[in-house]
Symmetry: C2
Subunit: 221 residues, 2 copies
């Protein structure tokens, strides 16, 4: 079976993508510890990889410079958002070059273990407005792979796959439920409390997604 | 004075680029500890940044997967090369996605500290054949910046500058000598011995460069 790198965050989007990838590839999960506000999402990602019986690697990276409210607990998280205004501008949770860094590590890993493809759970429908989740960014990154890597210049470029990029959160959830994705193991809240806060952008998008899908959230969000 | 990130390896190319950058910008040096065969080049890079009186940050990164003879001491380094056959194919010292990873960190740093540009000492004349040193790769990466970052989509993309990309090693050295680049502090050998080995691709290219420039190498290569 051919190999794929799957970027895993601990949230429901990337978990769904892992189960989609596993239909066709042997997945190698890549998780990043990049100084997030809390460890809950890393712990969730590890449990998800374990449930999928996949190889799993945690890459610890120290981002240079100040990188916004997702990694600096002194900065406030966005508040008082609704699904109507989330994603309309780049929020304070933006981490400069995050997906560029993640994809570059995934690419190095893919070339090293001869994986054919990289899966990432980016989405541009019910999303937070990050530029590095959009189709045109992935198209540009594909050209970086074609020009800047051994596999790329050998006419065998590693392909980036974004299977849920145009799906609504409700569609992602319906897809995942059919595949038996263990949503009870995923964590979406930007805060690392005992229970989801229910107020951050991520909690709001998740709750709205399950409501529209007509499914009870097994993660109690 | 406007800020620039300068990628510093400890070798003579990036040291020359630092002095070029410093004519127009306040440089912030970024050095990578990515599991090289030896620590000599990191130590050299730190000394160079210190001599230039620049801010200097060492980012430690753990590359996922097996990455060739530059980071795996069990693999042999390329041997018996001459300036005639160096760069004709991708050597075993190739590290998958290395410059993509380095640039993505530099980009994150640049956006975080509001630097305007990133300098990198890539070269395609007297070089080792790495695809991620070529102009078309940098052109592709510029499109990644334009589409995938906050600065890029705000029509103020961080620019990558490659001032020595088309220079011969002798031209780079002549430029550096005029700028008083402290070549005695630079380290080029792939091995980390007390003295340069004189046989690896990097030693060969350096020696030939000084010979053609008609200048004695103050680093005793």
């Amino acid at each position: 079976m051919k190999k794929a790198i799957v970027l895993l965050s601990g949230g429901l989007d990337s978990a769904t993508v892992l189960w989609i990838a596993a239909k066709r590839y042997k997945p190698f999960c890549l998780i990043f510890d990049y100084g997030q506000r809390h460890r809950k999402e890393i712990s969730a990602a590890k449990k998800i990889a374990s449930k999928a019986k996949c190889a799993c690697r945690v890459s610890k990276i120290s981002l240079p410079g100040q990188t916004g409210s997702l990694t600096n607990t002194k900065l406030p998280l966005p508040a008082n958002h609704t699904t109507a205004n989330i994603g309309k501008s780049i929020p304070s949770t933006y981490v400069p070059a995050r997906n560029i860094i993640f994809l570059s590590f995934a690419l190095s890993y893919a070339e090293a273990i001869k994986a054919e493809t990289i899966y990432i759970g980016a989405n541009t429908v019910d999303f937070s407005g990050y530029p590095d989740c959009k189709q045109e960014f992935f198209k540009a990154f594909a050209q970086v792979i074609r020009t800047g890597t051994k596999s790329g210049i050998s006419s065998n470029p590693i392909r980036i796959q974004t299977p849920i990029i145009h799906k609504t959160k409700a569609e992602i959830i319906r897809t995942g439920i059919k595949l038996n994705v263990p949503y009870e193991l995923t964590w979406s809240c930007y805060k690392g409390g005992a229970k989801p806060c229910g107020k951050c952008d991520s909690c709001i998008l998740r709750a709205e997604g399950f409501r529209k899908a007509g499914i009870k959230d097994p993660g109690n969000f």
